[in-house]
């Protein structure tokens, strides 16, 4: 519990940190970059889990994450192409990526039940964070209607992931 919350708090601090804390709204190219980065992070985490997970439920959950996040990102790429927008790297994206690669390395050292538990706990915290950011920052800041709508669909599907992760975590105990 402590680990889960501290991870969530750390992630929230990161997200609300550099780029978004200055009171400046992120621009659409920045939002697209953040959303896409967040998706890639979960895809990478899922790929690791598909390989390492011991529990059947955890593996199935990871496969769900892989399928959905790849689908959303494919849509996101198609949309930025259509809108002729170049996603713009920013401090939030950088902070997310850095934190994610640390997490991947940390999880890589774990095996079996310990890995399963840590992966799922991180998925709960990560979706909580990203969903919070979508709801309070990214969606309200998005100015293009199609981008906003894709983010809203994303939020809906990720809220489902969060519930699913909470459920899987409970089953592991």
């Amino acid at each position: 519990m402590f680990v889960r919350w501290s991870a969530a708090i750390a992630a929230v601090a990161l997200l609300s940190g550099p780029a978004l804390a200055q009171g400046t709204k992120p621009t659409d190219p920045q939002i697209a970059h953040i959303a896409y980065t967040a998706g890639v992070i979960d895809v990478n985490a899922a790929k690791q889990a598909v390989k390492k997970a011991r529990s059947k439920d955890v593996k199935a959950f990871a496969e769900d994450m892989l399928r959905d996040h790849e689908a959303v990102n494919k849509q996101a790429l198609a949309l930025v192409k259509k809108l002729n927008v170049t996603p713009e790297d920013n401090d939030t994206s950088k902070a997310l990526s850095k934190q994610a690669s640390d997490k991947l390395a940390e999880l890589d050292k774990l095996n079996g039940a310990a890995f399963d538990k840590a992966y799922v706990a991180n998925e709960v915290a990560y979706h909580e964070t990203v969903n919070g950011a979508l709801e309070t920052q990214l969606i309200p800041s998005a100015s293009n209607a199609e981008l906003k709508s894709l983010l809203q669909t994303g939020l809906k599907i990720f809220q489902g992931h969060q519930q699913h992760a909470v459920h899987v975590a409970a089953e592991l105990k």
């Binding site: 769900d64 399928r67 959905d68 689908a71 959303v72 494919k74 849509q75 669909t153 809906k156 599907i157 489902g160 519930q163 699913h164």
Partner: protein, 105 residues
């Protein structure tokens, strides 16, 4: 006894007449992670077609195990309902997507 027999006869006649003659296709849409209509009804022998309008893969999976239809993104899938009863089904990938199919004889 004669009453029971005649009702069986009626039921048999009814079943043989109605099922092949009225087989229809019931369309159900999955869009934006919602199944619509959430409550649909079909007759035994009807085809149920799920149309997945999402970019996500879905499934139509009966809790009873009666059917498990895979619905890739932007594709549809069908099943022929064979047994009367209330079938609760959901999407295995997105368990929040739930619906009911009422199959009448």
């Amino acid at each position: 006894m004669p009453g029971r027999l005649s009702s069986i006869v009626t039921a048999v006649v009814f079943a043989t007449m109605v099922v092949p003659a009225h087989a229809a296709t019931i369309q159900i849409t999955m869009e934006n992670l919602e199944i619509s209509p959430a409550e649909a009804s079909a007759k035994v022998g009807d085809t149920v077609e799920w149309i997945n309008k999402d970019v996500f893969a879905h499934t139509a999976t009966a809790k009873s195990g009666e059917f498990d239809v895979n619905l890739p993104a932007k594709k549809s899938g069908t099943t022929v309902v064979k047994k009367a009863g209330i079938v609760e089904y959901y999407c295995r990938f997105h368990p929040n997507m739930k619906a009911t199919l009422k199959v009448i004889p």
